[in-house]
């Protein structure tokens, strides 16, 4: 027998205890963050919507349903979003099938461009479409002179225009989910049909389409949420015709300001979004039987188009150019015109709009603020998100799982609600000075809105880091902190970078929340572009928008390469 007397002092090896303390400390820190940044504003917004003058009351809600202006806005939100979703679903599904399942040339180029509208702010798209199809739009004028029309027989302003522009803004949700499902689908199912003598298009209709149906519906629900959440499009295309949806009506109520009414309407918006997302959850849960779509990466079955190839290519190209490229080109042209509505004469093109736009203090501050706020928010959120995901996934701490769930709630909240929550929570906070009227309220808004993005990408990456990688380091002699630093963080880095970019991008051009809480001195890029557009300077608004496009497209390219938050990581 070997010596059995203890040769080590147990206290010297009390790392187990120290580890507990170190994790508990991190947990407390992240709990304070989540409760302060998300929990408190959430309570505020729900509480204030049902309490009037210190008493429980549904008066705010009855006001929504008794005033036609208000309930019509609710109804408008629902039906325009539904219509836009229908169009987006057809467009996104068709595009995904062509790109993923046929042999048209430049498939990866198409994939890149069809998802580009994800990155372009919807406000920019709305402006671009006004400049194309509006009363004095580039296309409108061309057609007028061609057909000798006194005016074009349509109006971009109003529900039709809103539906169209929303559709071409939100279809990437459908494209992304359907393309992902098509990539992951086990092609042996299709091959089985092919060996049974079924033709390729029949296979698409009878086998492939039913299998990706859950993905189509899932993408449609996300598109719906994106559409009801949107402010920029109905603001540019609806407000001047007094066609209101909930987001624009909330904006208007806040300019009066009637905060209780805005709060109640924003809660209705939450109900719409939550309903759609609950449906999505249910759909994902019940589509477990479609496990064929969730398998490993497989070689998809590609349809050879043969002689139809050039035609399909040309048709896809036209759709892509119209939907993605033309609004951007319109922005560029408009930004170079001497005045809005000027004839398209190369001699007249000028950079004056850029000079003027950038001469304004507000625009400068807007750009600087956005360039400060977006990376600050992204950095803080990735740090906090990493911490919570680590405690949740690796520490297996219940409380961290709760923080993860709470941090994910704002994902279901439309931006208007977050804006109102900010006003309610930070105008007169119980502790510290009012943040309203400062840039800090914008930072708080972005922190609340985008924490879920950081949580999602770090959580997903941590799940992929097998425990044994960390255990191997422990058995090699490394302490807990050393393992974290040498193994976990380096392996987590791709997820952290992805989360950072995915937050930076939308935060940089955020409008829906910012437009409710900005103030003089605390403008943002999105707000300033909107204000220029809204007060009748589309050419300057375009100049400002175009100036930021290179950064937006660059970040999009980075995100695209990284696989859009893991959705397409396996392709």
């Amino acid at each position: 027998m070997a010596a059995s007397h203890p040769t080590t002092n147990p206290v010297a090896y009390g790392a187990g205890r120290r580890l507990f303390d170190f994790r508990a400390l991190l947990l407390v820190l992240s709990a304070v963050f989540v409760l302060y940044v998300i929990g408190y504003p959430l309570v505020q917004v729900f509480w204030r919507s049902i309490v009037v003058d210190g008493e429980f009351s549904l008066a705010n809600y009855t006001r929504v349903f008794l005033t036609p202006r208000n309930y019509i806005a609710l109804w408008n939100s629902v039906w325009t979003a539904l219509a836009a979703t229908a169009v987006a679903t057809v467009l996104g599904t068709l595009a995904a099938f062509v790109v993923e399942r046929t042999d048209i040339p430049f498939r990866s180029g198409f994939r890149f461009l069809f998802m580009l509208p994800f990155a372009i702010p919807p406000l920019f798209a709305a402006m671009g479409w006004v400049q194309l199809l509006g009363p004095v739009g580039l296309v409108s004028r061309a057609l007028q002179s061609l057909f000798d029309w006194p005016a074009v027989p349509w109006s971009i302003y109003g529900p039709g225009g809103i539906i169209f522009v929303l559709a071409v803004t939100v279809y990437p949700f459908v494209f992304l989910t359907v393309a992902g499902a098509l990539q992951r689908m086990d092609s042996s199912l299709e091959e089985a049909a092919r060996t049974a003598g079924v033709g390729p298009f029949r296979i698409m209709k009878d086998i492939t389409l039913p299998l990706v149906l859950p993905a189509i519906l899932g993408g449609a629900l996300l598109a719906f949420v994106g559409a009801i959440d949107n402010f920029g499009v109905p603001a540019v295309l609806g407000m001047r015709r007094r066609f209101y949806v909930l987001t624009t009506r909330i904006y208007e109520a806040l300019t009066i300001p009637d905060i209780p009414l805005a709060t109640a309407m924003s809660i209705l918006l939450v109900l719409l979004a939550v309903t759609a997302l609950a449906l999505l959850r249910w759909l994902e849960g019940s589509s477990g039987r479609y496990t064929v779509v969730s398998g490993k990466s497989v070689r998809p079955h590609i349809i050879r188009l043969g002689r139809a190839r050039p035609y399909v290519f040309a048709a896809t190209l036209v759709v892509m150019v119209v939907v993605v490229i033309m609004p951007l080109v319109a922005l560029v042209i408009t930004s170079l015109l001497p005045y809005w509505g000027a004839p398209l004469d190369p001699e007249l093109l000028t950079l004056r709009n850029y000079e003027r736009a950038f001469a304004q203090e507000g625009a400068k501050r807007g750009i600087v603020n956005s360039l400060l706020l977006a990376p600050t928010a992204a950095t803080i959120l990735v740090a906090v998100g990493t911490l919570i995901s680590y405690l949740n996934v690796k520490g297996k701490m219940r409380a961290a799982a709760f923080l993860d769930a709470l941090g994910t709630v704002p994902y279901a909240l439309p931006g208007s609600v977050i804006g109102i929550a900010m006003i309610l929570a930070w105008s007169n906070p119980p502790l510290g000075p009012s943040l309203y009227g400062t840039i800090w309220i914008l930072l708080m808004a972005y922190l609340m809105r985008y924490l879920s993005y950081a949580l999602r990408s770090t959580r997903a990456t941590l799940h992929q880091i097998h425990d044994s990688l960390e255990e191997a380091a422990v058995t090699a002699g490394a302490s807990t902190l050393r393992v974290l630093w040498d193994i976990t963080i380096p392996l987590l880095k791709p997820g952290m970078i992805a989360g950072w970019v995915l937050i930076f991008m939308p935060a940089f051009r955020e409008l829906t929340v910012s437009v409710l809480i900005w103030s003089a001195g605390a403008e943002t890029l999105g707000v300033w572009v909107f204000l220029l557009q809204d007060s009748g300077f589309p050419e300057r608004a375009s100049a400002l928008a175009v100036a930021t496009l290179p950064l937006i497209v660059l970040l999009y390219a980075v995100a695209h390469r990284m696989g859009w938050g893991g959705e397409r990581a396996r392709s």
Partner: protein, 378 residues
């Protein structure tokens, strides 16, 4: 702390009364064993029997509920004294089933990591890694990243990393199960060679009995969290102490019969179809000298003979099926109601359908009432 008498082989690892529960599941139940210096010690058992949990308790990756663990003469876990040395202070090397080679580090950095953590000097690290690489026949691959390596090479990196610090014991959890058959064969030989070279004792976990038999100095056969039998591979194979061990190690024919022992260590058995057979030697008969039960017989303990002039004590059978396995034949022979698996040398041939005489050379008797086999006094 390890200056023990040089004459006796030194005990390197002691596990005593180890128990680990997960909720209601007792994953490891009062397990005890010792590993000597230079020893290749295996935990063998079916999936879910508690092998990994035992190994992880030794490593310190899991804290046990009860028992005592010593590594290299040092007490690292003792429930009674409240001692639980964390894994990073146990001086062990561990190889995981999925290799767990760090994908963001080169081969060199993977192997050097334990040395860096230990605070060795740059030059010393370089020398040691080079020695490990040479031992693993991986010179020249130090700058490769893990995704540029084959499965077998990644396995070697994991092994090198575990060996780099000259640990008191090397812990291996099914390290070969992800390799293809050829490589597995090669790595078995490699592992044995490396162990001989380094002298580091190995605690090896596997569910593959062939692997355990081929490589181990001693084997502990586990099932349901307890050790059923602990011994040299030959003992485990030839003298299984419980029906579970008999069944788990190798292939067994179960022949329901009545038995009557004879004085020479053999027995006569009465088969269900009324034939009587003489069995050369019978193990596990302590419980019942006479009676009903089952005789467990391994395929290679049965001979097939020509029925013409067959000796007494054989029974009549018919070849149903034959497959050629290269160095051996495997037959299925029908004896009355029974279908027996028989393994013979490659120069014993009988056609399918041929009548044969079946001679049972050796069996393990399982008495009907207890189901246990006692160990014949040896």
């Amino acid at each position: 702390m390890s200056d023990m008498a040089a004459s006796k082989p030194q005990v390197k690892v002691v596990v005593a009364g180890l128990t680990k529960r997960f909720g209601d599941v007792v994953a490891v139940n009062n397990v005890s064993f010792e590993i000597m210096e230079n020893e290749f010690f295996s935990l063998l058992g079916p999936s879910g029997c508690g092998k990994t949990t035992t190994l992880r308790c030794v490593a310190g990756l899991e804290s046990a509920d009860e028992g005592r663990i010593e590594i290299g003469g040092r007490l690292v876990y003792a429930s009674a004294q409240g001692i639980n040395v964390p894994a990073n202070h146990r001086s062990i090397g561990m190889v995981f089933q999925n290799y767990a080679v760090w994908p963001h580090m080169s081969v060199f950095d993977n192997i050097a990591y334990p040395l860096k953590v230990a605070g060795l000097r740059q030059q010393e690290i370089r020398n040691r890694v080079e020695r490990v690489l040479a031992m693993l026949a991986m010179e020249g691959l130090e700058d490769r990243m893990p995704n540029q390596l084959s499965g077998g090479q990644q396995q070697r990196v994991a092994l090198g990393r575990a060996l780099a610090m000259n640990p008191q014991v090397l812990l291996l959890d099914e390290p070969l199960s992800n390799l293809d058959a050829k490589l597995r064969e090669m790595m078995r030989v490699e592992l044995k060679r490396i162990q001989k070279e380094t002298g580091i004792p190995i605690l090896y976990v596997t569910h593959d009995q062939t692997e355990a038999l081929a490589m181990s100095d001693r084997i502990a056969v586990m099932s349901g969290g307890v050790i059923h039998q602990l011994g040299r591979p030959e003992e485990i194979y030839n003298q299984p102490r419980t029906p579970f061990v008999l069944d788990f190690i190798g292939v067994v024919n179960y022949i329901p019969c009545r038995i009557a022992l004879s004085a020479d260590g053999g027995a006569r058995i009465l088969l269900p179809d009324g034939q009587e057979a003489v069995v050369g030697t019978v193990a596990g008969t302590a419980a019942a000298a006479h009676g009903a039960g089952q005789l467990g017989v391994r395929p290679e303990d049965i001979d097939l003979l020509d029925p013409v002039g067959a000796p007494a004590g054989t029974v009549k059978g018919e070849v149903e099926f034959r497959s050629f396995l290269g160095s051996t034949y495997e037959y299925r022979v029908r004896v009355g109601e029974l279908a027996l698996r028989v393994q013979t040398g490659k120069n014993v041939h009988f056609r399918e359908g041929a009548r044969v005489a079946v001679r049972i050379n050796h069996g393990h008797f399982l008495a009907a009432e207890t189901g246990a086999t006692g160990q014949r006094a040896s």
